[in-house]
């Protein structure tokens, strides 16, 4: 596990700032870019998975109950899932104002 960028000194950087650990982008919290977050109404959800397919950041994961849920650590709040949902089950709400 690589450390946060704020803890690196210039002397520790590998030559050419080569990243030696593959896949470290998963440590990058893109979730704090959003102003709106997706909220799922489970009563309308038909488990079609279009939100999962369309999500450009692969934020959606299937949970144990069979629902696709956005991981808010990565979700940038783009709203594509809400737009594509055929039953209108996903609503974009202002963070902190959801009921």
């Amino acid at each position: 596990m690589t450390k946060p960028e704020s803890e690196w000194t210039w002397k520790e950087l590998p030559a050419g700032t080569v990243m030696l650990e593959p896949g470290n982008a998963d440590q990058y919290r893109t979730g704090d870019w959003k102003t709106l977050k997706p909220v799922l109404n489970k009563e309308l959800c038909i488990h079609c998975g279009l939100c999962y397919i369309y999500c450009p950041d692969m934020s959606y994961n299937l949970n144990a109950e069979g629902y696709f849920i956005a991981d808010l650590f990565y979700c940038k709040g783009c709203g594509i899932c809400s737009k594509e949902c055929p039953t209108g089950a996903i609503t974009m709400v202002v963070e902190g104002e959801e009921k």
Binding site: T9, T17, V18
Partner: protein, 391 residues
């Protein structure tokens, strides 16, 4: 001692590339660089050099290919001039920041407009701060020798930086000179196969060229700047090793008849030989004039330069590029920076000469020294002009 052969300097450069046993050559033709890569393409086509020769559609792609090939651990070479370098400039910054030890020869030519295919240093000065080690060659032997030196320095793990060898277009690239060749066995010993520190390989994946956010970008630049400064000991060590092998020793700053000289000419590149002839003529007349030749432009050898010049009364710095709207020529700027901290330092008088291939003869150097000495005597301590312009 190696065989001494009369050959065009571009061909000698290409032969040196062959002797370095490069894996990849990628280039786009532009005058006056063409003979170097033409000869290399012949060597590859004839099976004399086992390398991939990429015919790309632009110089931007030429260097991009080298970035990619070097990242896989392949020894790579490119060569360009002028507008080609300008088109390539974006990638020059990437090659150095990714610490890829590419070697490039620039057959120096001015930049348009007006269009002009002849020599000055405008092209390389446009990428002065691109983070490459930069040599200026005085003659064909310099160009040939520095190919081996460049790869050995570039690929050292404590360096890992790309290197530019500046060769004045036509003045060097297209003249035939006696070149003393280095035997292949010696080259092989001097320059072992490249062992990359990190490389693109499926067995051990790494990411090169990732994003750096504001929280870490400054650290990457500090690391890069320290790397360029740290290359200095390796350059000196490599010149020494090359000298021990061939008898030809090189220095960051070369001096000629500078002992007790009151006036020193300061130049870079092929001006060196002509200026030496001018110094000989002036010395014959009993004038106290010497010559300082800057061979290493980046990292700039501040200490060696000060050592070579601090005893003089005045420096006549002859640039081959203009910094339009700036303080004169780029070399004079550097020289002034080098001397600023010294309590007692020589007066710096700056000429720009030889733009767009205009000949600068020994008589011209003497005229410039005459003019500078008179002007300084009359109290003009900030002299700067483009020499020989018709009013």
């Amino acid at each position: 001692m190696g065989k001494r052969v009369g050959m065009e300097v571009s061909i000698a450069a290409a032969e040196a590339v062959k002797q370095c046993n490069v894996d990849v050559i990628s280039a786009y033709p532009i005058t006056p660089q063409t003979h170097v890569v033409e000869h290399l393409s012949e060597l590859v086509a004839n099976g004399e050099l086992d390398a991939e020769f990429f015919c790309v559609e632009s110089e931007h792609s030429a260097l991009s290919v080298c970035v990619g090939s070097e990242a896989t651990g392949a020894r790579s070479f490119t060569c360009t001039s002028s507008q080609g370098l300008a088109l390539m400039s974006e990638i020059t910054y990437i090659a150095s920041a990714l610490r890829l030890p590419i070697v490039m020869v620039i057959a120096n030519r001015t930049l348009s407009a007006p269009i002009n295919i002849w020599n000055d240093h405008s092209d390389v000065m446009s990428i002065r701060d691109c983070g490459w080690i930069q040599f200026f060659a005085e003659n064909g032997q310099d160009v040939y020798d520095h190919m081996f030196i460049a790869y050995r320095v570039a690929e050292a793990h404590e360096v890992l930086l790309p290197v530019i060898i500046n060769m004045d277009g036509f003045t060097l690239s297209h003249v035939i000179e006696p070149i003393e060749l280095v035997e292949q066995e010696k080259v092989d010993k001097f320059l072992p196969p490249y062992q990359p520190l990190y490389r693109m390989h499926p067995d051990r994946p790494v990411t090169m060229g990732g994003i750096a956010l504001p929280g870490i970008f400054a650290e990457t630049k500090k690391a890069q700047e320290v790397a360029l400064w740290s290359s200095m000991p390796k350059i000196l060590e490599t010149w020494k090793a090359f000298g021990d092998m061939t008898g030809r020793y090189y220095n960051p700053v070369e001096t000629y008849k500078t002992e007790d000289a009151e006036t020193l000419l300061v130049i870079m590149g092929s001006f060196g030989e002509t200026a030496s002839a001018a110094v000989d003529l002036m010395r014959e007349e009993g004038r106290s004039v010497g010559l300082v030749k800057i061979r290493l432009w980046r990292p700039f050898p501040f200490e060696e330069f000060k050592k070579a010049t601090l005893g003089a009364k005045q420096l006549v710095v002859i640039d081959r590029a203009v910094s339009i709207g700036g303080p004169g020529g780029p070399v004079a700027s550097e020289v002034k920076s080098a001397l600023y901290g010294e309590v007692m330092h020589p007066v710096v008088y700056n000429f720009v000469a030889g733009l767009g291939g205009r000949d600068v003869s020994p008589a011209d150097f003497i005229k410039m020294v005459d003019k500078a000495e008179i002007e300084i005597e009359e109290g003009n301590k900030e002299g700067y002009e483009i020499y020989g312009v018709r009013e």
